[in-house]
């Protein structure tokens, strides 16, 4: 039963476009799923390993730009570009991790913030590669036929299926991660880094590895962003507030759980998207507000608390 349930849930998720044709609702679902991936990815590093990064927009932006540039310059279909975006994000994360992981706690967070700002400024100014502040635009996506029918990229359904598959993969990856030795090592690192070293855990390598995994998933989501919105510019994909949103999704939903980022994304993204639909600006008000409320009253997050009530602990 316990094994069947997730499979049924996954199938139901993938079947949503069969039953829902309202484009706004699908758009909402797509956004929620994209943020779920980002929250999950951040949670691997920030939740399980306790390393609070304020610079994840870097990997998101790298993924988005990789996908766009490969398509625009080399006509590489964006779905391949997306995967390569993840890989490039992971590659970039290696030097970044080696530098920033020399610092601990809040100092690590500040360092990631600085690195992200450096990368944003480079993206803004390296015009021959990124087209600078003007950004990159894809006017049309390549034709694909599935079972003899051409996919209509003007509709939301295909995007929903793509992002749902990605989100399911991310959840599976997170699940496998929590059961892996690396997951255990990172728990030790979160609890006490010196003690972790003292029992023989290579803390730097473990942290760099989880950062790479996290960056890969973030880059993947970035690639999807490029594919879905068909437009990127540095202020859309490299901004600090984007990094902060990822943090908030995971924290508000519940750190160190797989369902937490899902809950966080459903909750925060839905409110924000509805607000954005109506007022255009200021939709992050709720992110800030709920972050403060959660830290103050619900430090284990919405799902974390729900889980505690459900399992009847304390």
């Amino acid at each position: 039963m316990k094994r069947v349930l997730p499979v049924i849930a996954a199938l139901l998720l993938l079947a949503i476009p069969l039953g829902v044709s309202n484009q706004f609702l699908l758009h909402l679902g797509i956004t929620v799923l994209m943020w779920t991936i980002l929250g999950l990815a951040w949670n691997l590093l920030g939740g399980y390993a306790g390393q609070v990064s304020f610079g994840h927009a870097t990997f998101f932006g790298i993924g988005a730009y990789t996908t766009m540039i490969l398509y625009l310059s080399f006509r590489l279909a964006p779905w391949y570009g997306m995967a390569l975006g993840g890989v490039l994000g992971a590659l970039f994360s290696l030097p970044i991790g080696l530098i920033c992981f020399r610092l601990r706690g809040p100092y690590f967070s500040l360092a990631t913030l600085a690195v992200a700002e450096i990368i944003r400024l480079v993206a803004l100014n390296w015009e021959s590669l990124t087209n600078g502040p003007v950004g990159l635009l894809i006017t049309s996506l390549p034709q694909v036929t599935v079972f003899g029918a051409a996919i209509n990229w003007e509709r939301k359904e295909p995007f929903f299926v793509i992002v749902a598959v990605l989100a399911l993969c991310a959840m599976l990856a997170a699940y496998l991660f929590t059961r892996s030795r690396l997951g255990s090592y990172l728990t030790a690192i979160r609890e006490d880094e010196d003690a972790a070293e003292a029992i023989g855990i290579d803390t730097t390598r473990s942290k760099v590895t989880v950062l790479a995994l996290s960056a890969f998933l973030t880059g993947l989501a970035g690639g999807f962003y490029g594919l879905y919105f068909r437009y990127v510019d540095p202020d859309a994909v490299f901004l600090i507030s984007l990094s902060v949103e990822m943090v908030f999704i995971a924290v508000v939903g519940g750190l160190r759980t797989i369902a937490g980022p899902v809950v966080g994304a459903i909750f925060l993204t839905t409110i924000a998207e509805l607000f954005r639909e109506r007022f255009m600006v200021g939709h992050l008000i709720f992110y800030g507000l709920f972050m403060m409320l959660v830290i103050r009253f619900l430090p284990e997050g919405i799902w974390g608390r729900a889980l505690r009530i459900l399992t009847g602990r304390r």
Partner: protein
């Protein structure tokens, strides 16, 4: 004077003038960190709110933006104390990362409420007496920046006197050096923390008021300012007031030289790279003594 020499001095002057305001923001962040170990990510929003306060004073009520500081600075001092008492204090036992996340939430909330209320438009404030720059010794000095520099120096000096000469000021310094010992000596650490948070907020807002005629103004300006602010306090050593002043002026000069001699586009990058280098190799700051 040769042209090259003139450029050098001109960018030095620009750097020091802007740097003095950076210094003030940095001092605000660093006193809060010193006493409470809070890295206040909402500090940039305090500057932003200071900027908007002065801006609206001028546009709505025709009050000179510099003059409006007399009203705004004490108000922000009060607001800071209240924010600490009713918002931040309860979070303190959760540890440094929790306060970091909490103030990040605060920052996003304030910036987006401002965005909602005032839109994301870029605004500028042009003071009537500030059109033509001064030209002492052939160096162009923008009037609003010169006034701001003077006032920033004055406020910083006043802060110094407060910390050095008054009982409350001494208590702030004592708490910053060792909270437990300070508490044992009968200092009301809670009260000092509240005053310090007010002080830090007031300094940020004051810097905002002074900066408004010289900078573009928009609701998310705090995001960039707060990151610069970290650069400053890390350069000078977290928690050190003289360090923050030196760090602020240093960053101003680095940016100004960077814009002239490297490239305008990458001037901010230089600051961030220095920030990383200092964090990695001299975490006690450029001017701090090495500790074990």
């Amino acid at each position: 004077m040769t042209a090259a020499m003139e450029t050098l001095i001109q960018s030095l002057v620009n750097g020091v003038l802007t740097g003095s305001l950076y210094a003030m923001i940095g001092v605000g962040l660093t006193v809060i960190f010193g006493v409470m170990r809070i890295i206040n990510l909402a500090h940039g929003e305090m500057v932003m709110l200071g900027m908007f306060s002065a801006y609206w004073s001028y546009t709505l009520w025709k009050i000179d933006s510099f003059l409006s500081a007399i009203v705004w600075v004490p108000l922000f001092f009060l607001a800071g104390m209240l924010a600490y008492r009713y918002l931040v204090r309860a979070i303190m036992p959760g540890g440094e990362l929790n306060t970091l996340l909490y103030t990040a939430g605060m920052s996003l909330l304030i910036a987006n409420v401002a965005l909602f209320a005032w839109t994301g438009d870029y605004r500028t404030l042009n003071l009537p007496y500030a059109v033509e720059p001064l030209h002492p010794f052939g160096i162009a000095v923008p009037v609003p920046l010169a006034i701001a520099f003077g006032l920033a120096a004055l406020i910083t000096a006043a802060l110094y006197v407060f910390l050095a000469r008054t009982d409350t000021g001494r208590a702030v310094r004592a708490t910053s050096q060792n909270p437990e010992a300070a508490a044992l000596m009968g200092i009301n650490v809670e009260r000092i923390a509240m005053i310090t948070f007010g002080l830090g907020t007031a300094l940020a807002a004051a810097a905002g008021v002074l900066l408004v005629p010289s900078l573009y103004l928009y609701p998310t300006v705090g995001e960039i300012l707060v990151v610069k602010c970290f650069v400053i306090v890390v350069l000078g050593g977290l928690g050190s007031i003289p360090g923050a002043i030196a760090g602020g002026i240093l960053l101003g000069v680095i940016e100004s030289f960077g814009a002239v001699y490297v490239s305008v586009a990458y001037k901010d990058t230089i600051g961030f790279i220095m920030f990383l280098l200092v964090l990695l190799f001299r975490p006690q700051g450029l001017f701090g003594a090495a500790r074990s």
